[in-house]
Symmetry: D2
Subunit: 366 residues, 4 copies
């Protein structure tokens, strides 16, 4: 219980359901003096918000965030920051039919069993709509990380169904509706998604997040390792079923002589580790991948049971994303930003400063 | 900082270095009245301990655990449980040569940079030797889970380098030194490991853990989801680089109609989800996989730098496991047990009892 | 940092400044199925709100609370509850003069020094206005405690300056503007406060809170004792400088033979302990007292310094309570409710149920 | 549950019972590079240990602490520190008679009711013997506070029964068995205690702790205020029933014009606040008082019940302190040190450094 707070020193506590009055949260632990406006947070909210392309749900939400406290004369005061996003385009009637049944692949069944009772409108609290506040809070962390430490976070789609990304060009990620860093794949993605929408089905995806200009030293072993906290954060995003750091599952068939990243006076010569050794950042790029399942809300009919346990057929109506992986990109960035900011503060508590020791070598290989 | 405590209600705080006086910890939050002896914990410690087969490090440790408190007349009292394992076979001289250099693939570099100073003997706190206490604490959780809820936890090797496991027979896992559930692969494993040792190299592995007889309802969304906490726990084990729940990275190419697990009055007809929906257990088997990198301590010479930043060649002596994945099996079991016990208590805090609602359907498909 | 969350299992995270847009918070960990409406919370908010009598500040705030999430069809869902109270009667111009100086006895100086920067309007986050959200959150706890465990919480003024209360009649507490349980003292209080207002000065007070119908067994030694958590909660209320449980400072001159409460088959024969032994509730009435300093915002001129360190004279204008102790009564009740609810859930996590063991004796003496 | 950890960034998790094998704990979050030896911790353990004067229990324990980890080559490494104190002079037979009854004023009844079961030997976990580990951990904090911030902590007896202390001379505190700072009261104390011992009764006491050379800015409002955390820490010491900061309960009859501490360019001219405003340290001396009840273990016969609920007479044998307040002095110092260190780290996480802003004025008045 009490599972709605993320972080230890830089914390985010959230509330809100898909079809409730509003989403909101409290961000606590932001150092004073950071310049912060609602516009800073709106950038990523606009990247995440629904209805921006034909590939996402048709629900229309402005997702305008209000900063209710913690900022005075344009700067954070060091006190807690209240965030609020009002829901606007709830159409609860769309969901009245699911009150009495469990959509397969959804949290309907587990929420009902856990709490004995659920807000069935649009999935209630289990809806990914909840992540809007994570994105807003992550925006604060992103600004801090970039301004104070120069850390930048780049999220992108690295695979959608059968279409894998080959080349990574950060500069085009925000220029296309797929957050795809590979221009040569845009047409294939567009075609695939059109066909998918026609079929009424959905598809899985792989999303990657990379943090560049990382300091050495973030992470608190033995349990609160940087990679452990990242894995928890990513697996906690709706629909994520797998998380990798660096080479991930490829290490299963690697030999030690092949995997270990050589150190030279000029820096590491490879980055199999993904920028973490022993749970602590190496100063190299931090590389994280995650697998997102296809959304379970599809118009392809399926079998399920009603809340009394009787068999029935179900067709999920409503407005849904055929590939939740796409809009997960800014969410994954936000979660990585929250983890990194928390660890910057945690590291600073114990040491003089992040980047305090001059690294023996630069974290050269990306 | 303060990263040496795991869990929220059932917590384990640990201490100890590879070549220090002792390893130990405090287990807090164990309900009173559980029958508990040191022998209960020794079983898994013996499975994890080094020197039991030719495939592991030659370091010999009895890893005998002492329960120093919290148990009276054979039963837990509800107060904190002190655990202690004395180190016996430290050979610090083996490591004196690494005081001045950074072993590639190890945490030497990151510990030095983070803390400005490190206990270099056998890797100090970054050594996997630290996990002995996790296994002891996990033994308490295992006993509780089985006695109170009937939950059983099965860990096994599912791949070692190129050798993947095809069939799973829990009954033979503890009968072979690889924790391999597939009798047909034992010979191949033996041969592969002999050759590997000769070459002085190491190899990666995939380890799986399955919890059977799971209750419905464990997990605390939106952040403390059961799968999120499991991912954090597993990625926090030394050498782990990837974690999957259920179908894991296979979901990237799955369609929604294929992935979603159908509910019927008799139960689920498949288990693509791995037993978690919306961050809450479904009552099906909980299925977790993880990838472990090859150990970086190998006798194959490699390039690195000394603590002054000068290039040098390194050959890691000392006594090491050629495949850390093998001994990770009881560690992964322990971590899963710790997560599940924590969530049993957290669920109970908010609800009448685990298993309190009669599940609408049995969690039939494993 | 991150000091804006209270509780471990039943948590309240708050935000908001005296003259900001709104106050709000997230209540996490409330069990599902509790009937809850905004009216339930408004009762205590109305008791705390300013402008209700001539003895309190003239600032007028409706303090209308909105429940933004976590309640569906009139019942809590087990997910986080968002609370919001909009500020209405901010008159920031009243405070423009304090931007450049430190009011003696206020947090102006310490906030400025800690954060290097402060929201000076009405004291910003340091204003007791922030406690409105504590009262709203405490209302949820109060309802739970009464409905599930039958526990009732009674706060009252037990001394105001020289006027000490002699008899305690719970039934009249809410019938007078002083929350005074002694009808014979009302006239003296009224007269004292009139004179005080004329003088432009302020006065200290003693406030007591008693929980009746307590279960045995709440409290988690050795650190999270019930009395320790209560002391922290009460000392965390603005202006509180002392906290007592049971006989409090009177124990300094008591002998053991006098202090110890005798147990008989019919129950305890006295309650010197105030209902806590070894940090765990005895089942007797829980008795807590606290001392509140006189408000430092008075119109009696005083010496201070400006933010440059120069001496200056100050007269605090604005609208203030001449005795903050009065309005602290519902705040103290709320904090006690939050502590008790947190401990009910914590106890339940570890044991079958609160009140699970039949007490050997009733907790008879109040 | 899980109430055996103290602190948020600098944490201490403890275990051990009065008559168990050993007491121990894990100290986590200590910055690296602090010079630390067992002798550093032994100083306060020796001040707390039993059997050092005729005024304390006759139980003889060396209370020798072992540092099991976290220190390498004489300095802390930044990893967790394991502490162990073996019990030596257990005489469990002394307590066999209390297995079946509840000593009045003790935690016997509440532990039995909470856990359904208790380690009755010497009070088990509820015994103040547990505080030895707090004193050891506090020794680490004390050393850090003094070396890094120059903060010094002075605990002393300020009243014993009817004998109140008038003058405070820190230099004699450790020169007498009462931790009394007033040489003129030593004879009276000696006489009073002799008489008390003869009577078989016990007496209450008041203990004070003062931290000098405090920085401005420690404390994390609104809940984790410095004074709130101190109150929780002190009320969590065995036998404490009341806590005051600064003027404490005297504020009840003070006027605002009298209580508020005037700021001048040369510093504060008084210290009614006790060094905390708005939950944040002012830089003045931090002044804390606490009331300790008389020990309930006395040889004066009393009435109680047995575990079946039948009335019986009880005479508590065993070896007990006639005034637990005396040995509480080093414990109170340790708890204050733990709180201050935690807050130094918490403050540093959010800000550049403790003492980072030059205080506008010195915190002059003590």
């Amino acid at each position: 219980m009490a599972g709605n707070t993320f972080g230890k020193l830089f914390t985010v506590s959230t509330f809100g359901e898909s079809h409730g009055i509003a989403l909101g949260g409290v961000v606590d632990g932001c150092p004073p003096g950071l310049e912060l406006t609602e516009e800073d947070l709106q950038v990523d909210l606009d990247r995440r918000k629904p209805g921006t392309s034909r590939y996402t749900t048709a629900r229309r939400e402005d997702d305008e965030v209000q900063i209710l406290s913690g900022v005075f004369e344009g700067k954070t005061t060091g006190t807690s920051i209240g965030l609020l996003i009002k829901n606007k385009d709830q159409r609860s009637q769309d969901y009245s039919n699911i009150a009495g049944s469990f959509r397969p692949g959804h949290a309907d069944y587990t929420y009902q069993q856990k709490y004995g009772f659920r807000d069935y409108r649009g999935g209630g609290r289990s809806s990914a709509r909840e992540t809007a506040i994570r994105v807003a809070a992550g925006g604060i962390a992103k600004k801090y990380l970039e301004q104070v430490h120069g850390i930048k976070i780049h999220g992108f789609l690295s695979q959608l169904g059968p279409i894998a990304i080959d080349t990574i060009d950060y500069s085009i990620i925000n220029e296309n509706p797929f957050f795809c860093p590979d221009a040569s794949k845009l047409e294939a993605l567009d075609e695939y998604m059109r066909d998918l929408k026609k079929s009424g089905d959905s598809i899985g995806a792989k999303v990657s997040v990379v943090a560049t200009n990382m300091p050495v030293g973030l992470g608190e072993p033995v349990f609160d390792r940087l990679d452990a906290d990242i894995a928890g954060a990513m697996m906690g995003i709706n629909a994520v079923k797998g998380v990798e750091v660096g080479d991930g599952f490829d290490v299963v068939t690697q030999k030690g002589s092949e995997h270990r990243d050589t150190l030279t006076p000029e820096g590491f010569t490879s980055n199999h580790s993904g920028g973490v050794l022993g749970g602590i950042s190496t100063g190299q790029d931090l590389v994280v991948h995650m697998a997102l399942k296809p959304t379970s809300s599809i118009s392809v009919p399926g079998q399920t049971i009603d809340t009394e346990g009787n068999a029935m057929e179900i067709v999920t109506k409503g407005r849904h994303d055929p590939c939740v992986g796409i809009r997960a990109v800014p969410i994954a960035e936000a979660m990585l930003a929250l983890v990194l900011m928390d660890h910057c503060l945690r590291h600073r508590a114990q040491n003089a400063a992040v980047h305090c020791t001059t690294p023996v070598i630069p974290g050269s290989v990306k």
